[in-house]
Amino acid sequence: MPTATEPTRRSPRARDTVPAPGRRAARTRRRQRAMDWARRAPLLPALVFLIIVTQLPFVATVVISFLHWNALAPENRGFAAFDNYKAVFTDPAMRASMGTTVVLTVTVVLVSLLLGLVLALLLDRSFRGRGIVRTLLITPFLVVPVASALLWKHALYNASYGLINGSLTWIWGLFGSDSPPQPDWMTDSPLAAVEVSLIWQWTPFMMLILLAGLQSRATDAIEAARMDGAPAFDIFRYLTLPHLRRYLELAALLGTVYVVQNFDAVFTITSGGLGTANLPPTRPASAPRSACTATASSSARAPASAPGRR
């Protein structure tokens, strides 16, 4: 991380600038050390909290994954070694869902990164109504994912009353045709349907990060290059792109982290009918008390499959 070494750079300088003969030096050093600890201590509670809530359950998951544990016979618990993992890896649905997750994540991140880059470059110019355009472009990121997935599913993709097929009918109608193509988007290409809605949702996120990058770049070098008559593409290729590299990496990293764990869109649009049928939807979430059996009986699969897929 680029800023990781910053505190190291700052503290020696602060020490050097203090005039430091004798006792006063000792005092400043003590004070410096107190400051260092003051800087570290506030992180500790957060660190402990984070380890307890996010890391320990995972460790527990790993432990459980090596056990025999059937909810119908809870007293019958024992060490299972790699049996559960064998079951997981020989399950074709599991392999298929891992593949789907990889394809989904890579496609969504790459395409939304590219679209985000284009939009950020366009937004970086000044034109009338830029504020409104930017506001509208950010919106998909702010809409509750479940809500947007629902709208994609019902208002856009639906084969009989969706907006896409409605537009197709209208366009074909313009040319006097009575039989426009009416594909059922969600059954014909479920993965693409999910991908498009996710790209729509994550492009603003990428755009925002890249926009911050564009706005932080030094303008004098670009102005100088433009004065010297460098073509616009060369300015982009040799000045803008190298500057943006860090931001592109960051956007890709964060995007991957969030898209891999995506649940809302897949669950809402296809209900996992892609071979992405992951564990959570199979649990009767509305009835927590009775859900215990379902949860525990799938415990053999849950631990190993969960980290891999989402």
Binding site: V144, P145, A147, I209, F263, R283, P307
Partner: protein
């Protein structure tokens, strides 16, 4: 110091391990401690989910506070608490707001954990919406109205703070 930068990176790396991987133990603990379907369980979980991003964002905002004014405050005899409250906090306020906004968006929108761990009592809005669709799915207009109402708080907050959102999302990449 080097080590503590690694700790900072550890914060972010916990984000790479999907919290879902620990869903089952969390569920079992919640069930045994009677915290299923309780809003406080979600509060704890969402806090830990957003903590890494929040730490990194706050770090990048605080790094922008000029060291000179902190040194000046120290020379004038201000203690650490005074420096933080009277000098740093006002300067970093936009950053604090942006961090709060991001955490707000992700917590408001979260579905998976809310769905698995809550039910009737503590169901959040996304959970309500999925349930609403099962019962009213054919009434498209009603579903759309519910979706709009649910999205409205996030939309308003996001529009109000979009400049800060740009800055905040770039985390440590902006100096």
């Amino acid at each position: 110091m080097r080590k503590w930068s690694d700790v900072l990176f550890f914060f972010l790396s916990t984000k790479m391990l999907p919290l879902v991987a620990g869903l089952l133990p969390i569920y079992l603990v919640a069930q045994n401690s009677g915290m299923l379907d309780s809003i406080w369980l979600l509060v704890i979980l969402y806090t830990s989910m957003n903590l890494p991003i929040a730490v990194w964002m706050m770090r990048s905002f605080l790094a922008e506070v000029p060291a000179e004014i902190m040194e000046a405050a120290q020379i004038d005899g201000a203690g650490l608490g005074t420096t933080l409250m009277r000098i740093v906090a006002p300067v970093a306020m936009p950053g604090i707001a942006a961090t709060a906004l991001i955490s707000f968006i992700f917590s408001w929108n979260e579905l998976l954990f809310a769905r698995v761990l809550t039910g009737i009592v503590a169901g959040t809005t996304p959970v309500f919406l999925t349930g609403f669709v099962t019962s009213q799915g054919l009434f498209l207009a009603k579903v759309c109205a519910a979706a709009v109402v649910i999205s409205l708080p996030v939309l308003i907050a996001g529009f109000a703070a979009q400049d800060k959102l740009v800055q905040g999302l770039s985390l440590g990449a902006v100096k």
